[in-house]
């Protein structure tokens, strides 16, 4: 009873905060610029998974674990940024550390997300060498033209991601008139044993580039990537405000010699070569009541068809039955190896819709944003629903609670995920 009372008092303190200062002041000495800066966040994220024991992802991942209805996972995360700036030179490092307590026990991983040396000889010219994200594309969830970036997690598109080691230049030119800006961004991306080894074929130096225009109040980019680690690709994107509260954006990518690895009925892996076209169209709309609608449609020409997914699914079923009969899990291990990564990635199929509705600060509750998100696979009619609450009652402290429910018939993408639902809490402290 005493602890409940204490909790109540604490919550009340959180809600009421400190009493207002009589006089607000602001002095320039408060914000003196420091050459060395260190920031980041610490995060605690417990997750409860409601398992779907008939799904093929469950069979691949948990076939040798005790059967359960739910499992819990405790994630501790630290994202650390350090930078040093002197004159025209700036060095920056970003690391990400994950410590997880899951059904498999404790595990931890630290990754160098960024390590970058930037030189700015002038306001128009920036040179970067090191690991960074290029951040190409205008889509909120998916970016078909992000040729030099790891894919975002559609369930958390704002998450920090690991970059690639590159040498890049930004050269900016400004104009008066309808054409306001042009920026050239050439990029070199080497792929060797210890540098960007997961990008594609090794011992290659890839060359890419982007040209950005701000023309007639429209952001327009043209981009390409070539060099051999992956098939050459070409793209364009755009973004424009039609009215002050209505934005449209789009991306288009063309890969003339795309090569897709496809599992055959006999369990072997074949390769299909064809010209792949991927594109995205999206809108963002803000109502007078401060409700924002995000809508995106993704057409992924290099995704899998229903038949290809069903074939992969039946291979898993066969491998699982074989494991139950013989105890031999080699086929299951093969199906969960890197070869099948493309089947298990975010949005592995061809047609998707993303819808997110968020309401900023309803009932005058400041820094409180409830939202609702759905990802719909148009090919197999399976989908996810995610209601979410985000609240930052205290400076630098943020809480998020969300539950994702996955729905779809057997054989469909969301119907065959390892979970039926995922309940997640996130507490994050910025410093």
């Amino acid at each position: 009873m005493r602890s409940i009372t204490l909790c109540f008092i604490l919550l009340n303190l959180l809600a009421s905060g400190l009493p207002a200062q009589e006089e607000h002041t602001f002095d320039l000495s408060e914000i003196e610029k420091k050459a060395f800066q260190f920031n980041g966040y610490l995060e605690f994220r417990p997750v409860l998974f409601g398992l779907d024991r008939d799904s093929w992802l469950y069979k691949i991942k948990f076939y040798d674990f005790e059967k359960r209805e739910t499992i819990s996972e405790y994630n501790f995360n630290a994202l650390l940024d350090a930078s040093y700036e002197k004159g025209i030179i700036r060095a920056k490092i970003r690391t990400n550390t994950d410590i997880t307590k899951s059904i498999s026990g404790w595990s931890h991983e630290t990754a160098l997300y960024e390590a970058l040396l930037s030189v700015k000889p002038s306001l128009s010219l920036h040179l970067d060498i090191g690991k960074k994200r290029m951040k190409w594309g205008k889509g909120y969830v998916w970016n078909p033209v992000a040729f030099i970036d790891r894919p975002k997690n559609p369930n958390d598109p704002d998450l920090a991601l690991e970059g690639y080691a590159v040498f890049s230049i930004d050269y900016i030119i400004s104009f008066q008139g309808k054409l306001k800006t042009i920026t050239f961004t050439p990029v070199l991306l080497p792929v060797y044993d210890h540098v960007n080894s997961d990008f594609g074929e090794q011992k290659k130096i890839n060359f890419g580039g982007k040209v950005y225009f701000l023309l007639y109040d429209t952001d327009i980019d043209f981009m390409f990537l070539s060099g051999g680690s992956m098939p050459a690709r070409y793209g364009l994107d755009f973004s424009r405000n039609i009215t002050s509260n209505f934005e449209i954006h789009g991306e288009f990518a063309y890969i003339p010699d795309y090569s897709k690895k496809v599992f055959q009925e006999d369990g072997t892996v074949g390769e299909e070569k064809y010209a792949s076209t991927n594109y995205l169209l999206g809108i963002r709309f803000l109502t007078k009541t401060n409700t924002t609608f995000f809508f995106e449609y993704l057409k992924k020409g290099n995704g899998y068809t229903s038949n290809e997914m069903e074939c992969f699914s039946s291979l898993i079923d066969q491998a699982y039955q074989s494991y139950l009969l013989t105890g031999n899990d080699s086929q299951l291990k093969f199906l969960s190896s890197a070869t099948s990564q493309a089947y298990r990635t975010f949005a592995p199929m061809q047609d998707y819709i993303y819808l997110r509705i968020n309401q900023k600060e309803p009932w005058n509750i400041l820094y409180f944003i409830p939202s609702f998100t759905s990802i719909f696979n148009l090919t197999d009619k399976s989908f996810s629903l995610t209601p979410e609450l985000l609240y930052s009652p205290i400076t630098n402290l943020e809480f998020r609670m969300k539950i994702t429910v996955l729905l779809g018939k057997g054989g469909s993408e969301f119907g065959e995920k390892q979970n039926d639902f995922r309940l997640e809490f996130r507490g994050r402290y910025y410093f």
């Binding site: 607000h24 400004s174 701000l214 405000n241 400041l366 820094y367």
Partner: protein, 242 residues
């Protein structure tokens, strides 16, 4: 009858002159508030009815009539975020998310009563026409009308100090004359370089009863910038201007 016609004719001929004078008055007020190109530091404070407060510090740079950018210096959760406005286009850059996304003038990147149009404000004379000026003795009351429908507030009623030609209070209204918010200008301060203006701006809104937002200026000084500063690729580098 002839006399009346002459008076009307004279009024008709003189009315554009008054309009020009009134526009000039507004333009002069814009210059009194800040140089056309400048840098400034501002603290934004959102105050809730229960007394809870949240503070944000921004470094702002502006050039000419239509270019303005702001960088969040604190708190840590917002540090590195930056916003850019080119005429009616607005973008927000969030370091983790990466690419700048388009935002609208009615949204608020900080929450509270100030919206993006208040934080990335261009000169009043750029966005509004003077419809009428009333003489109230020590003050005059200016009635302003938005030049386009993409401006955040359709109408402004501005009470200004006649001697200093600086605003004391502004009411922001919709097309139907509904009051959205009231902005109060307080504590005139000499920032140096000839900039003498209110250092505190407060706002409240009937749409957010009991809530208040305050903007405090700690430094405003004239500074020239190249156009390249006001581009999307430069947004992640705004800090280098400090």
């Amino acid at each position: 009858m002839k006399k009346i016609a002459i008076v009307f004719l004279m009024l008709f001929l003189l009315s554009p002159v008054f309009a020009i004078d009134n526009t000039q008055l507004l333009k002069q007020m814009d210059r009194n508030l800040n140089p056309e190109s400048f840098e400034s530091y501002r603290k934004l404070i959102n105050i809730e009815p229960n007394g809870r407060e949240k503070e944000f510090v921004l470094f702002t740079v502006k050039k000419g009539k239509d270019k303005i950018a702001a960088l969040f210096i604190s708190p840590a959760s917002e540090k590195g975020r930056s916003t850019l406005r080119l005429d009616e286009n607005m973008w927000l850059y969030i370091p983790n998310v990466g690419k700048p996304v388009r935002i609208t003038s009615l949204q608020s990147v900080v929450g509270g009563v100030f919206n993006n149009a208040d934080i990335l404000r261009l000169d009043y004379a750029e966005e509004y026409d003077v419809v009428e000026v009333e003489d109230l003795g020590d003050e005059y009351l200016m009635h302003l009308k938005a030049k386009t429908n993409s401006v955040a507030y359709d109408q402004l009623r501005m009470w200004a100090d006649k001697k200093k030609n600086l605003p004391n209070k502004i009411e922001c209204l919709t097309e139907t004359s509904m009051l959205i918010k009231t902005i109060y200008f307080k504590q005139i301060k000499d920032f140096g370089g000839g900039v003498v203006r209110p250092s505190v701006i407060e706002t409240d809104s009937p749409l957010h009863q009991g809530y208040k937002s305050v903007m405090i200026f700690a430094g405003i000084k004239q500074r020239e910038f190249k156009d390249e500063v006001f581009t999307l690729p430069f947004l992640p580098n705004l800090e280098s201007l400090r």
